[in-house]
Symmetry: C2
Subunit: 96 residues, 2 copies
DNA sequence: TATACATGTAATAAAATACTTACATATGAT
DNA sequence: ATCATATGTAAGTATTTTATTACATGTATA
């Protein structure tokens, strides 16, 4: 769910950096001062939420790089929207 | 942070119910099929995020009741907004 | 007094997230 | 061959979040 994807400060930073342009994972990890495995985890969640996309490419150096880019998004969040979102959710309920 | 507050399905349901009108905790717990202590926890997070407010009142029966009501909100979420939000965040960084 | 129903919270358990360490593979340059 | 730098992921640990259980207090009613 996109709201869950946006609930972590690291992921917001990732979005902020990607909003300035696409970047590949290792370089992104350096810019954010974050370990690559951890960055992967966050990127995965952002990708599942369709907030970012990725593509494998070849750097000038000849090494392969996985580029991530930000998908443009625009959401209006208000009571009504949350209510209709809530009605689509299933949550394990003890009673019935 | 309001995005964290909105990242849990129970809390979205709470908002959905409260959007139909104010309600007191015990009754809300029954409507949601949720234990009161758990509901308290979620209501606290929503209140910290300023999404709901509460007030103690006396029921016709004479018992005191803590009413919760939804605060009206409207947020535009897009890359730009996330970027500026991200810049306000401090996150523990290993390297400087 | 016992029952019913309200608030409030402490202590604990369970589950989900976040994070680290370690290693594997591949390519190009020295 | 070794070094540097890329991807990818498994396994384990740590932390945070979520959830339960068990109480305490107060008021009105039977």
């Amino acid at each position: 769910m996109f709201l869950e994807a946006l609930s972590n400060p690291h992921r917001l930073k990732i979005i902020a950096v990607l909003s300035e342009g696409r970047q590949y994972v290792s370089e992104l990890a350096r810019e954010l001062g974050m370990s690559r495995p951890l960055l992967y985890l966050h990127l995965q969640k952002l990708e599942e939420a369709k907030l970012v996309s990725s593509s494998m490419e070849i750097l000038e150096s000849g090494k392969t790089a996985k580029y991530y880019m930000l998908n443009s998004f625009h959401l209006e969040i208000n009571e009504e929207m949350i209510s209709s979102l809530a009605s689509t959710l299933t949550l394990k309920n003890k009673n019935t």
